[in-house]
Amino acid sequence: MARKPTQQIVLTVDQLTIRFGGLTAVDSMTFDVHEGEVLSLIGPNGAGKTTAFNAITGYLKPSSGNIAYQGTSLVGLKPNQIAELGVVRTFQKTSVFGGETAFHNVLMGLHRQLKQKPWQIIFGLPSVAAEERAMRNKAREVLEFVGLGARANELGNALPYGEQRLLEVAIALAARPSLLLLDEPVSGMNPSETSSFMKLLGEIRKLGITVLLVEHDMKMVMGVSDRVVVLNYGSIIANGSPAEIQKNPDVIRAYLGERHRKTQAKSKGKKRA
């Protein structure tokens, strides 16, 4: 049972503008994310969703505007500093530690939760060993949570595609986010994988994690979101509950009508930093 989203605002995106040379990828984008909700960011390819993600998580420097998480401005912070604040993301293009086992992928994700210092490690203090044991258990728990418990010893890049996407989420969860940004998590999954991912998302909500989602799969977006923000050509054209969005004529015209054709023409403008 998902916790009710509160009206407490956790993430504020204010007049965010990002330009690449002459091209404006995101234009004066403004929206808020409330604590505990699932907010989806949708729009055709090239609308600036991933660009906005990159700016929020510190992979891109905004040209202007402000981003704040729980009152702290994220502009100018490095991605790892933003992660330290509890804002953790996944990537649009599948991104795991390919040469390591699934188990170690999650252990690496746990980085933020460990306290050991380099000198303690070098001298082999017992506290380090104790912490390692605890973390190994935790890593197994996270793997079980996303349903990869049986895959612990498989190499990251040897997993089937759908499971790699789950592993990504596991890595992000291991970093103990309070705000989780998922970039097209179900793209490339088959319908049954997608529906089990939707269940997983419900479980994640139960942990009290706020979710900001970029997704093309409308069934999923409408099924899991509390609110939806629609982008087109870098600007917000609609913002509301899934039911409102589905009725919005602007959205239907600008986005839904075109969507099919756009996804055929392979991704242009999926530029990443």
Binding site: Y59, E84, G98, P118, I122, E132, N153, I171, A175
Partner: protein, 346 residues
């Protein structure tokens, strides 16, 4: 524990070598091989675990060697016309530690500077750094004696000053000292790569943007790896200088970095045993081949060998053997999840 016992046995075996080897010259080869293994292990931390191709590694080795040599034999520097800074000779164990510390400080500095750039730029910056250090050693004659080399460097001594002292003139104590430091270096690297810090380094190698997304501070861990790696290389340099007892600017030659790289790549980068296996092969092979081929021909062979390894055995010997072994074991039993050591093939 079975594993502990095997490790203990291996160390004991190596410690027993001087008793049955019978030829001091072989022992000499083993000592220099051991020193290079320590250097290769330190390079492996950077090259293997963080994935940064640092081709200036010999600089840290040389800095450790020169620092330790200078502090143990003393030096004076004419700072102004009227003031000369005189540094009295210090005990070797102290100079050795200073060598490690100074190499580590240089590692920190270079890490801070050079990790601003990556890829080809990083490689060239590290090469340049080593070359600049070599030219300083060559030309700062007041301090380093330049091409005349620092000579008569004291050997290691052990004991309580005034009461009992053992000077390491002979091969055997030097051998054991090198072996002990090999073990210490191995343990440090293993602890590191099986910890939060080491995992952060591996994460950076595997996928830097993903690593930062879960909170890994890129610069911090790359610099940490460089500092530890530089300190270890400095230790190897210190051992070298007090064993060979002469150090000249050629200690900074690029070819020594290449030797370390070949050891790590052939043995298996990013594995704990890789540098040891690679180091043993390339430490002993030149002597074994000496009757058969001149040094030029040998180096031609090593160059070609390196190319072949990169083509056909990109992981190196150790991972190839361990895969083969794991497949055999898998046929017999299945292991429990999460037991394999991270990023290692041991």
């Amino acid at each position: 524990m079975n594993r502990r016992l095997i490790e203990f046995g291996v160390v004991l075996f190596f410690a027993s070598v001087p008793f049955w080897l019978g030829n001091l010259y072989y022992l000499h080869i083993l000592i220099t091989t051991g020193i290079f293994i320590i250097a290769a292990m330190s390079l492996n931390l950077l090259l293997g675990y963080t994935g940064q191709l640092s081709l200036g590694h010999v600089a840290f080795f040389g800095i450790g060697a020169y620092t330790s040599a200078l502090i143990s034999i003393g030096f004076d520097l004419e700072l102004t016309d009227t003031y000369t800074f005189v540094f009295e000779p210090k005990p070797v164990w102290f100079s050795f530690l200073c060598g490690i510390a100074f190499a580590a400080i240089c590692g920190w500095l270079i890490g801070k500077i050079s990790f601003k750039v990556r890829g080809a730029y990083f490689v060239i910056v590290t090469i340049s750094f080593a070359e600049v250090v070599r030219l300083v050693a060559l030309n700062w004659i007041d301090l380093t004696e330049g091409p005349m080399a620092l000579n008569n460097i004291p050997p290691f001594t052990l004991g309580i000053p005034g009461l009992w002292e053992l000077t390491f003139f002979k091969k055997e104590p030097n051998y054991w000292l090198v072996l002990a430091l090999c073990v210490v270096s191995f343990v440090i690297v293993r602890r590191l790569v099986q910890s939060r810090a080491g995992r952060a380094m591996i994460a950076l190698r595997e996928n830097e943007s993903l690593a930062t997304s879960v909170g890994v501070d890129v610069t911090k861990y790359l610099v940490l790896a460089t500092v530890i790696s530089a300190g270890m290389a400095g230790a190897a340099g210190g051992l070298y200088t007090h064993y060979i007892r002469i150090v000249d600017p050629d200690v900074f030659l690029f070819i020594y970095t290449v030797t370390m790289v070949i050891m790590v790549i052939t043995g298996g980068k990013g594995t704990l045993l890789g540098p040891i296996v690679g180091g043993l092969i390339f430490g002993i092979l030149p002597e074994a081949l000496r009757g058969l081929a001149g040094p030029e021909v040998q180096w031609v062979i090593y160059g070609i060998l390196m190319i072949l390894v990169v083509y056909f055995l990109p992981g190196g010997i150790v991972p190839a053997l361990s895969n083969w072994w794991r497949q055999r074991e898998d046929n017999q039993s299945t292991s429990s999840p999460g037991d394999a050591a991270p990023g290692t093939a041991s």
